[in-house]
């Protein structure tokens, strides 16, 4: 069977251009006219260019994947920072924080036990702040006693606000001193403020 191959627009027969790799083929190619050689070179260059484009595309793909990963990480970081600010804001609300007469260490987050009890025992009080929490995507705020004294290790949990959450939620927490003013002085326990936030 005679196979036809094209070289520079001309038809060459199998018996003229032998199989790939053989010396005879190399000789046949080197004996081709100059413009055919040029075409081969162009083909070679085209392959190299395609290779480079594929390589660059791969690098770009990596870069885009990496950038999107970074963007997600940054988004999580800022969401977290916002949640922390929210926790600090909750703890510093005049409706919850200790009054200035409480002589705790100035840097500590101090919550007034009596105010916390007032929130916990009245849904009406909780609902007064509905708009504030709704606008901040907060669905639940709890204060949990984590250390009361050496005999009572874990104490109660108080609810400051609670609403049915929709979709994805994430909880953030920080520590605070839960203090009450008693005749024997200021009594502070260690508590945790936990805010559950609706995620976008």
């Amino acid at each position: 069977m005679i196979k036809k191959l094209r070289y520079g627009g001309q038809i060459a027969h199998d018996n003229v251009v032998p199989r790939v790799g053989s010396h005879a083929r190399q000789n046949a190619i080197s004996n081709l006219p100059r413009f055919r050689k040029g075409q081969l070179k162009i083909q070679e260059m085209a392959f190299v260019l395609v290779g480079i484009v594929v390589l660059v595309a791969l690098v770009l793909l990596f870069f885009v994947a990496f950038q999107s990963m970074e963007a997600n990480k940054n988004a999580a970081y800022y969401r977290e920072a916002r949640a922390i600010t929210m926790l600090e804001m909750i703890a510093s609300l005049p409706e919850l924080r200790c009054s200035s007469s409480f002589s705790t260490t100035s840097e500590s987050v101090c919550l007034d036990y009596d105010k916390v009890i007032a929130f916990n025992s009245s849904e009406e009080v909780q609902n007064n702040y509905d708009t504030l929490w709704d606008n901040s995507w907060v669905s639940k705020i709890e204060i949990e006693e984590v250390y009361v004294n050496s005999s009572v290790r874990k104490g109660k949990t108080y609810t400051i606000y609670s609403k049915e959450s929709e979709g994805n939620v994430k909880s953030y927490a920080t520590y605070a001193a839960l203090c009450t003013d008693e005749p024997s002085g200021l009594i502070c326990k260690i508590a945790k403020i936990r805010a559950t936030i609706n995620m976008p």
């Binding site: 600090e88 500590s108 050496s150 874990k154 001193a177 502070c188 326990k189 260690i190």
Partner: protein, 162 residues
Amino acid sequence: MIKKSKKGQEESMGFVIIVLILVIVGVVFLGFSLRKTGSSVQNQQELADLTWSVLSYTTNCSILGERQSIWDLAKKCSRSGGTCEDEVSTCTNLNLTIQDIFKTLKGSGVDIQNKSIHAYDFVIDMREKKAVARQGNLSWNYVSYVTFIPTDINVSARFYYT
């Protein structure tokens, strides 16, 4: 012959250039991926809040009928020492209380940013005296907080998580 070797040289130069480009891209990529994002906001804040709530905690030690906080005990211990109404020294009371607090917190599964803590090292440094609460294998990753207040008392907290 000369033509052939020149062509070979050109090809190897091209190969070297491509390898160089790949190495540069790789280094840039590695540089980006190894770049540290810094410690978490929450870790720092949560730890600071925990440290200060511990310092505000009211102990069982009463002096002149008034219950003392950990911070008060640290101040008294660093100055004159003295004893509480139950005849236990302020320094001993301070040590026992912080040890009990952290033992309890760890026992109840204290977490810092949802990371379970397996060891802690809490030190109230009063220059000549120290109150220490330390437990567990102090290795692996940790988060730490040091108070910067203009007194003789420095407090450092370090929590290890896996």
